[in-house]
């Protein structure tokens, strides 16, 4: 079987798996990294949202062969290390606002929020209601309001 290598949460990993297996299954089924969740498999629910080279991306839609050895994949497990702390400020904001209900979507929500705040900051502005309206991640428990509050709060500490 072909070998694929990429960087995962700060470490180089190599997997023996068919070219077209999507990254989500490489992470979950091969490497046992279960923070990114399955909710649809077609990149609409966003439960698997992780970062590739710092940008929000959905592993369910990325064939593993598309990753180069230098591509840095960050899942929720690796997010705190990106700021050298036990918790990323967005995770802390999530705790402060007691956002999670069942918690299934929350790794994806947090990863989407961090990428959104970074993007908005690069555009030299702060988060607006329109930015928050544009988040596509499903939360079937309906904790959307607390997500909005936590993102605004987390952004202030990023």
């Amino acid at each position: 079987m072909p070998k694929h290598t990429f960087r995962l949460n700060g470490e180089q990993v190599t997997v023996d798996v068919a070219d077209d297996v999507r990254l989500l299954w490489v992470l979950r089924d091969v490497l046992g990294v279960t923070g990114p969740k399955y909710g649809c498999g077609i990149n609409v629910c966003k439960a698997c949202t992780s970062h590739v080279n710092g940008k929000a991306a959905n592993p369910c839609a990325i064939p593993v062969k598309d990753l180069a050895p230098t591509d840095e994949v960050t899942t929720i497990e690796g997010l705190p290390a990106t700021v050298g702390k036990d918790l990323h400020p967005m995770q802390q904001a999530w705790l402060d606002h007691d956002v999670a209900q069942c918690g299934y979507c929350q790794p994806g929500q947090i990863m989407a929020a961090v990428a959104l705040v970074r993007r908005v900051a690069e555009e030299g502005r702060t988060i607006t209601d329109d930015d928050l309206d544009g988040i596509r991640n499903i939360c079937r428990c309906g904790t959307y309001f607390r997500i909005r509050e936590a993102i605004k709060d987390g952004a202030r500490h990023m």
Partner: protein, 767 residues
């Protein structure tokens, strides 16, 4: 059984209002205190009244059902100073692990963080007492959990007294440490063995009175929050069970279709990563190294199918069935009336974690892991299916990624067991999202006909005939009602009707009030969905209430206020009117709506503001439904006593989002015997762009002092308030829900193959 001993008059003035309960200390190496689950309801059987829910509601029946069969729940004090409790319920996001930890922390005087709540495996000896549903968890466990904790507290103090050579009355237990009058301290971990029972004995305890509560009623963050935000919280599919490889099922193109033949089994068996392919009762199962390879294999299968149980049916044909089954209003109207007929389409539970289970079936034994709200029924049914004695089947209840009624059913666990037995290997079964939408459970389509008669400023009578595709209540709930229906003061009726009568109430003084449920068509996979009947029944009623108010020339809020029967109800209504500034000036095309609902010994009122102006309705949203925007929502809720107000607020927030979805956007479309929806961008549950930017949840102060049900409570009033606001903003009375159901806002995915291909453009879309 826990028995309340009445304090003797004049015996102890401090005993007034405090009740004594019996618990146990069990023989064990460390301290294990116990209580029986199930508490006799206060409600007495009285003469049937027009509204029996005032005497006895659904929760009383569920609590009463538990009585004769109740068994022990245990609170265990560990040597490291932590306290363990295995909760015989399912945590599906509603926060009961947190609220249960709070109950123990309160009574035992330990920090909430020191209480470890896990989910109990299926315990058949608990019988009816391991069902999570009907918003019953806190109601039924509020006293028993505290009794067990209080027994433990008493034993710890006694052990400490011996250890410190002090009198119990001179000891204080605080934050997990016992201190005597001169300041000597000993932690409960150090007392865990010394306080242990050498033999099992019964102990009588007095529970802490409400005025001394410091944990119960104080907002607390979830005990599993850190695990959730770090990705460490484990759901069924995150568990590593040796050799339980990814497994999926190729499902039929119509609801409940079955396999006639498969043309290419061997070809698919030879696909990369595939280990097994086998025909089962619900389709063709595929086991592979990764779920991605399962998806590819499912798509490659060439299956010929038999028609299912809803062959040829559509929304239109089911509506015709419902219309034909509707019971007529018997009495002719002698006074003016307001009438309406409302249609509610199929909706999907659609928990974000799809149906899933791990099964390891070996000769003579089986082990199952799944999020189950009725694990005992699951265990017994799976044992029967596998041909094993129930004692040979271990059922572990996992944390659930949402439920909304879905986990009352054990379809995935049963299917996983069947596959594992068939191929002789462990399986990790997951349904694709498309499977969940098309072959999963649905809230049944229904109509509700309402007739209210009035004269002058009096409402003389109110009748509501609800007609629904049959709701499957068989897995757990059904058993209880089958067993108890005959004992209830409602005559000889089946359990659906019993459930309907017990779960619905008439909060307004509307003269002679009657309600009737008629069910038809058992061809669909139905179930409750964050309430069974209430959201639809309440929405129909509240729209008619607005009509009645208009006929009498009254304001919708003041009209409700005038006719609501109870003070608690008026207080909640007043609160939302005040905080939401009822009656404020609004631009044309926007409006407020207000609605009320009571259930589970709790009341809720909701005020919303909606924007139905074209520029809002037509705002661009990629692959989604914009539609009218609820711009503000205010809810007031009185559950009698909120154990964790922050958790209750979270539950109510979710209820508001469900209410918005059910009125405006989310439904399943039935055509040619299958549901068109196959994913989230087809099934329009509330998204961020539908979320009210302004939201206030007001948890009202303690009223009854006893917790009511909360998990489902807020959906009905939210759905109704949005419908009423929409009606007032558009000058219409909406009669079909959700209001956008008539417009199909997506391109339906094919049914063959049953699941869509995995996309490949993920890197291009990174942003």
């Amino acid at each position: 059984m826990i028995r309340a001993e009445r304090p003797r008059p004049g015996a102890d003035p401090h005993a007034i209002g405090r009740r004594r309960f019996l618990g146990y200390v069990l023989a064990a190496p460390t301290l294990v205190a116990a209580a029986e689950l199930g508490l006799a309801p206060e409600a007495q059987a009285q003469l049937p009244s027009p509204d029996i829910t005032r005497l006895l509601d659904l929760n009383d029946v569920m609590t009463a059902a538990a009585l004769p069969t109740a068994n022990l729940i245990t609170v265990e004090v560990n040597k490291d100073g932590t306290v363990s409790f295995a909760l015989p319920r399912a945590e599906v996001g509603q926060g009961i692990t947190t609220s249960s930890a709070m109950l123990i922390a309160e009574e035992l005087d330990v920090p909430v963080e020191k209480v470890r709540v896990t989910l109990a495996d299926a315990r058949p000896e608990l019988l009816f007492n391991q069902l999570t549903g009907g918003s019953n968890t806190t109601i039924s466990t509020f006293v028993p959990i505290r009794v067990a904790a209080a027994v433990a507290r008493g034993r710890l103090l006694t052990a400490a007294a011996i250890e410190l050579g002090a009198a119990v009355k001179d000891l204080t237990l605080r934050a997990g440490v016992v201190t005597d009058a001169v300041g000597r301290a000993i932690g409960i971990g150090d007392l865990a063995e010394k306080a242990a029972g050498a033999r099992t004995e019964q102990v009588s305890v007095v529970l802490k009175p409400r005025e001394r509560f410091t944990v119960i009623g104080t907002p607390h963050n979830r005990v599993d929050a850190l695990a959730a935000v770090t990705g460490r919280k484990k759901f069924a599919m995150d568990l590593q069970v040796p050799d339980a490889k990814p497994t999926m099922v190729c499902r039929p193109p119509t609801i409940n279709g079955t396999v006639r033949s498969v043309a290419n089994l061997d070809e698919v068996r030879a696909m990369p990563g595939v280990t097994d392919v086998t025909v089962i009762s619900t389709g063709v199962a595929v086991r592979a190294e990764t779920f991605g390879q399962c998806i590819d294999a499912v798509r490659a299968l060439r299956v010929t199918w038999e028609a299912g149980t809803a062959a040829g049916k559509s929304d239109e044909s089911v509506l015709a069935e419902l219309r034909a089954a509707e019971a007529p209003f018997v009495l002719p109207a002698l006074t003016p009336t307001v009438e309406g007929t409302f249609t509610f389409h199929f909706r999907s539970n659609s928990a974000l974690e799809t149906n899933c289970a791990i099964a390891d079936v070996r000769p003579g034994r089986a082990e199952i892991w799944s999020a189950l709200k009725s694990p005992i029924v699951a265990k017994e049914a799976i044992a029967a299916k596998l041909g094993l004695p129930p004692s040979a089947v271990t059922v572990h209840v996992t944390e659930s990624g949402g439920s909304f009624g879905r986990r009352l059913f054990y379809d995935a666990a049963s299917e996983a067991a069947e596959i594992s037995q068939r191929i002789g290997k462990p399986v990790k079964l997951m349904w694709h999202r498309a499977d969940d939408s098309r072959q999963g459970r649905a809230h049944p389509m229904a109509t509700s006909r309402v007739r209210a008669s009035y004269l002058g400023t009096e409402v003389l009578g109110y009748a509501q005939h609800h007609t629904s595709v049959s709701t499957d209540l068989s897995m757990g709930l059904g058993e209880i009602f089958t067993a108890l229906a005959a004992k209830l003061p409602v005559g000889d009726i089946g359990f659906s009707e019993t459930f309907f009568q017990l779960s619905q109430s008439m909060p307004y003084r509307f003269g002679v009030s009657s309600r009737l449920l008629t069910e038809t068509d058992k061809g669909f996979n139905t179930g409750s969905m964050r309430n069974v009947y209430s959201p639809d029944v309440t929405t129909a009623r509240e729209l008619i209430v607005d009509r009645l108010a208009a006929r009498m020339g009254k304001d919708p809020y003041r009209f409700r206020r005038e006719f609501l029967a109870e003070d608690r109800a008026r207080a909640a209504l007043d609160k939302v009117a005040e905080v939401g500034q009822w009656g404020r000036e609004m631009p044309p095309g926007t409006a407020q709506g207000i609605a009320f609902h009571s259930e589970y010994h709790a009341v809720s009122a909701v005020l919303v503001e909606i924007d139905c102006r074209p520029e809002t309705v037509d705002r661009p949203v990629r692959n989604g439904v914009a539609g009218p925007r609820v711009t503000k929502a205010v809810m007031a809720v009185d559950v009698g006593l909120a154990v964790n107000p922050r958790g209750l607020e979270a539950q109510m927030m979710g209820c508001v989002m469900d209410g918005i979805a059910q009125t405006l956007t989310s439904s399943l479309h039935l055509r040619d015997g299958y549901f068109l929806e196959a994913s989230w961008d087809n099934y329009f549950y509330t998204r961020q762009w539908n979320t009210p930017p302004e939201l206030r949840i007001i948890v009202l102060p303690t009223t009854t002092g006893e917790p009511g049900g909360a998990g489902e409570l807020g959906v009905a009033a939210s759905m109704a308030a949005v419908a009423c606001a929409y009606g007032r903003a558009t000058g219409t009375m909406p009669t079909s829900f959700p209001i956008n159901h008539g417009t199909l806002s997506f391109e339906p995915k094919p049914t063959v193959p049953p699941v869509p291909p995995s996309p490949t453009d993920g890197l291009n879309l990174a942003r």
